[in-house]
Amino acid sequence: MTTTLSPSPPSAGAARKPAGGPLAARFRVPGAFVLGAVLLVGVAPLVLSDFRLSLLAKYLCYAIVAVGVSLAWGRGGLLVLGQGVFFGLGGYAMAMHLKLADAAAAGSTLPDFMQLYGTSGALPWWWAPFAHPAFALAMTVLLPMAVAALLGLCVFRRRVKGAYFAILSQALAAALSIWLIGQQATTGGTNGLTDFQGFFGYDLDDPVNQRMVYFVIAAVLLLLMAAVRQLFVSRYGELLVAVRDAEERVRFLGYDPAAVKLVAYVGAAGMAGLAGALFVPAVGIISPALIGIVPSIGFVIGAAVGGRASLLGAVLGAIAVAWAQSTLSDAFPAAWTYLQGLLFVVAVGFLPGGLASLASAVRARRARPRTTPPAPTGGTA
């Protein structure tokens, strides 16, 4: 009863195997992961000065955001141009806790900046719960996820797509930073929250503790990369790509694409929130200028340049772009803004797979000289 449809099944059934035999293929990803871990946790702290290590800690925070961007944009096709919102929510949640803890250590109930601009002299009600470390820590992740869930539910249900979703994300980032600037007395305004003394009881001025912060950040990055990599190869990861490339088709198979996208979007928001929270002790500041429109675009540029659909590409791209920014923006502050825009346009317009796709394109050309490479990774959702 199982007559085949194909009168003459084509013989070209050989699956594409990565070069280097099955054993090498099996251990390629775990091997790369271990190598990365050794470099980050073992080598970097040995060879880098305290100053350079703290810079690397900052870049790794951007890399954590990029892990989420790779998930939501690379695999899910959602052009998340408002990650600054989630980064900011996580950052402010952490900063509020540190400020309150500093104040308590100094025997005061108000953070120093509130005493300075102080109007009423009382702590705003929405600050109070952040005095609890567990609450504040949970909020760094849950708050961004909740906001993303709310926004995602509205947007994905209504099938808002592509450019509109990106513009909406940008508008939200602008709105949050403008609101923060306007609330000088309770948020620190343009200055943001800065000048932290301690981090859960550890003195942040002590270089040893700065190293500890670096290790925490590196560990979080590695863990998230492992988790997201697992997600990529899971059935959900396949489904997410299917939704990105042919949302309507997925619907007719009985899935709700809105739910599929929501998971990726909320996950990416949680990661951005965590990155923002870790950024605060590593860099010592969170401010509206770090979370508005321009930084929100900055969060995706690294992933775009490195290759948004490739996890490693996105992470390395984010680190490289962050490094270039801090190196170049000191020397040519104005030029960097243009360069950043140019990078984004070139990466999205001409190299949708990023630098990561160059490698595989070259490999594919060597393996099959005649066939044209497959169409570039799908556009924006």
Partner: protein, 283 residues
Amino acid sequence: MNGDGLTVRDLRVTFDGFTAVDGVDLDIRPGDLRFLIGPNGAGKTTLVDAITGLVPSTGSVRFEGRELRGRPVHRIARLGIGRTFQTATVFEELTVLQNLDIAAGAGRGPLTLLRRRKEVPEPVTRALETTGLTGLRDRPAGALAHGQKQWLEIGMLLVQDVRLLLLDEPVAGMSHDEREATGELLRRVSGERTVVVIEHDMDFVRSFARSVTVLHAGRVLSEGSVADVQADARVQEVYLGSAAGSGSVPGSVPDSVPGSVPGSGSVPGGVPATATATVAEGA
């Protein structure tokens, strides 16, 4: 009326004042293999779109006693209704196996989804064999030939395990042998499921249809067995139009409605090619 099968009543679809489906009634028994034919723009695809919830409509569509109208697309799919598209739509970047696995998995829970696929599900293995794609299972679907993509789509419907299959020109662009194989498959499948096929190729319709509905300008023009429909004067009118002239080729008309050249399924003898182009071209 009847609880089983598909029952469509007074279905209407309007696009900016243009009525593409204009009060269609349709009764399809379970296990039927119904062909939906009609000239280009008759509203065949739009009818399927309305049944599957893709375009808004008025009227009533009931399947197995449940009203489908007003439900979102994915809920309708979960009630056991699957469809293919006029241009084969598969997930180009995913492999054949991944395509089928996704089609098989709408009922999966979050925990299963978050894990890697350990083994190939039984229905997927069977669908790979049925569609002759076993050797290509690790190929990206985008690299498949046109006909193979269409089989992959049919395979996806099979693993989706739907009870009503709506196929929009599934054999367009296939060779004669491929058409035969596809037709045989549809015939086997239809016993336990209900199958509706939109088709232009009259040879194919004649070989495999259990019943036929002719749509024209958004309305049901004729319905019945292949022979009934072929004998219907209104059908001949629509397909041959004024080019053939009423009665100018009296004897040959009933037989020439469908393309009667065996195999190729193209222009029937005795009728101007232009008049039958819509019947024979198979998109």
